[in-house]
């Protein structure tokens, strides 16, 4: 049985002192940023590095933000997402452990099937969003946000200890792997050239371990954060550069950074934890009711169930909605107003959409204003401009779903 990894010793080798530039958004109090295995690779390819959730990551490379964004939707882009936390949960009671922390029907996952789920607290608030995959090798593979790393590890490790003390067979291991996301309409075709498995048999939200461009032991999961078809490849850290270089050899592939990652996910209507959902939003308010497992709703056996389940029938809550408007771009914290001019909510994410050439945003409004087509106002720099509640995704998604 595997033992839980020591987080500090795994990170210690990669902690680097930051030279001169100031760093914002650090999740810890130290003045150092973690580096992924691809740090030098990013610099060599013209990556402009910034601080994000305690990591040094490229915000863009030599291409402009807009070009990088559009390239992803027309060809494919390679993102280094190694900053995200990857963990494995082992043992006969691994599903019991996971279900004690998340809202989804984890027991019902088929071998190698994954799902988006949510860690919740007793008040019904969302602690993080994550992807849980039931690996056929006999463990759960969990990917969660870098910004919630310490919180999530403590949550999972405490629960492991609690269950172990009761005699349960469960353990946690933090993975040392890099994580590369290859996203776009030509991602599968690019990857197929380097794998023996038939990728037509790996639909959206399924996963498999395979050799990729000569690197063995890679977990390939058909998922992503862009709305396009694509994969996330968990690769041993020592081989990450070799794999990235092999993928980049294909002229279809370009490197993309955090800037494009954010505008792509926003067009796809995907939440950013900390902006669009946080500990003060419930899954129902976040328009994520679909993550609540059917069995779990009936059993009311997940954290915060007594708050969350009654919200399903009630219309009293605010809701996360999509907004589109022309004029000045709408950004987080812009007030949302009713047509009469009363403040009714706030924007949580927004940007000019490179694909639509309109401004898109997400925000919270009271239930009665949440229907698509509802006209509202958004305030930008003390001026009000019209906006419309819109269905998400703003740009159609292209997930590879078998019919």
């Amino acid at each position: 049985m595997q033992r839980a990894g020591s987080v500090v010793s795994r990170l210690g080798s990669r902690l680097q002192a930051l030279p001169s530039a100031p760093c914002r958004s650090l999740s810890c109090a130290q003045d150092v940023l973690h580096r992924t295995p691809l740090y030098d690779f990013h610099l060599a390819h013209g990556g402009k590095m910034v601080a994000f959730a305690g990591w040094s990551l490229p915000v863009q490379y030599r291409d402009t933000h807009v070009n990088s964004h559009l390239h992803t939707r027309q060809h494919c882009s390679l993102f280094d997402v190694s900053h995200m936390l990857q963990t494995k949960i082992f043992g006969c009671d691994r599903v019991k452990l996971m279900e004690s922390l998340v809202v989804g029907d984890i027991a019902e996952l088929k071998p190698n099937q994954g799902t988006l789920s949510l860690f919740t607290n007793e008040a019904g608030g969302i602690l993080d969003d994550l992807i849980v995959t039931s690996a056929s090798e006999g463990h759960l593979y969990v990917v969660s946000n870098a910004g919630c790393r310490e919180k999530d590890l403590t949550l999972m490790q405490d629960k492991v200890r609690e269950l172990q003390n009761k005699g349960s067979d469960v353990a946690l291991e933090v993975m040392d792997n890099a994580l590369l996301a290859l996203q776009g309409p030509t991602a599968a075709q690019v990857l197929q050239a380097g794998v023996a498995d038939d990728l037509r048999k790996l639909p959206f939200m399924t996963s498999a371990v395979m050799e990729v461009f000569g690197v063995s032991g890679c977990r390939v999961t058909r998922c992503g954060y862009t709305g396009e078809d694509g994969v996330e490849i968990s690769v041993p850290a020592a081989e990450a550069i070799r794999l990235a270089a092999a993928l980049l050899k294909n002229p279809e592939v370009k490197l993309a950074g955090l800037a494009a990652r954010d505008s792509l996910r926003l067009e796809a209507g995907l939440c950013l934890y900390g902006n669009d959902i946080d500990e003060h939003t419930t899954p129902v308010e976040g328009s994520l009711s679909w993550t609540l497992g059917k069995r779990r709703r009936a059993a009311m056996d997940f954290p915060g169930a007594s708050v969350i389940v009654p919200q399903l029938k009630s219309k009293a809550q605010r809701r996360r909605v999509g907004l589109t408007c022309d004029g000045a771009p709408v950004r987080a914290q812009s007030p949302i107003l009713s047509p009469e001019g009363t403040v009714i909510g706030a924007v949580t994410s927004g940007c000019p959409s490179p694909c639509l050439k309109k401004n898109v945003a997400m925000g919270y409004v009271p239930y009665e204003y949440s229907r698509p087509g509802t006209p509202l106002l958004v305030e930008v720099r003390r001026k009000q401009q019209p906006a419309v509640v819109s269905k998400m995704p703003f740009v159609p998604t292209n997930y590879y779903i078998l019919k």
Partner: protein, 142 residues
């Protein structure tokens, strides 16, 4: 240029604030100017047609009591592709250092601060259809 204003005064000191979205930020490299300093650049034959730069990376060129305002090449490069220009209406009275608009990229908004006190007589209408002019031609058409 972004706008023209009547009655030029000496360029003000301040900062072009980039309000970056939470996902990532960009830190502008420190430039060569000391606090309070203004650098004058002679660009044309007329002695009065001198482009002065503020510490906020804006420039102002004055001629016959009319000042033309724009942003520097360094600023447009740091900002990235400009997708929207928020400019004041003609006739607006501005005070030195007052916020008069913003330039938006996909990622962030950068507020603009007036280097002069005066009244807006003209705004660059071409920027409504073609905000990218700020990047392509920050000293002339943008």
């Amino acid at each position: 240029m972004a706008l023209r204003a009547v009655r030029s005064v000496r360029a003000a000191v301040g900062s072009l604030c980039a309000i970056s979205a939470p996902s990532a930020g960009c830190s502008p490299r420190p430039w060569g100017l000391r606090a309070g300093a203004v650098r004058a650049l002679r660009t044309g034959p007329a002695l009065l047609s001198v482009r002065k730069f503020t510490e906020k990376h804006e420039w102002v060129k004055t001629e016959n009591s009319v000042g033309t305002v724009g942003i520097s090449n360094f600023a447009q490069e740091a900002l990235g592709d400009v997708v929207y220009c928020s400019l004041p209406e003609v006739g607006t009275k501005l005070n030195k250092q007052e916020e008069f608009g913003a330039l938006e990229s996909v990622k962030a908004a950068s507020e603009l601060y007036s280097p002069l006190s005066g009244k807006v007589t003209e705004i660059n209408k071409a920027l409504a259809e073609n905000p990218g002019l700020v990047n392509k031609s920050c000293y002339e058409d943008g």
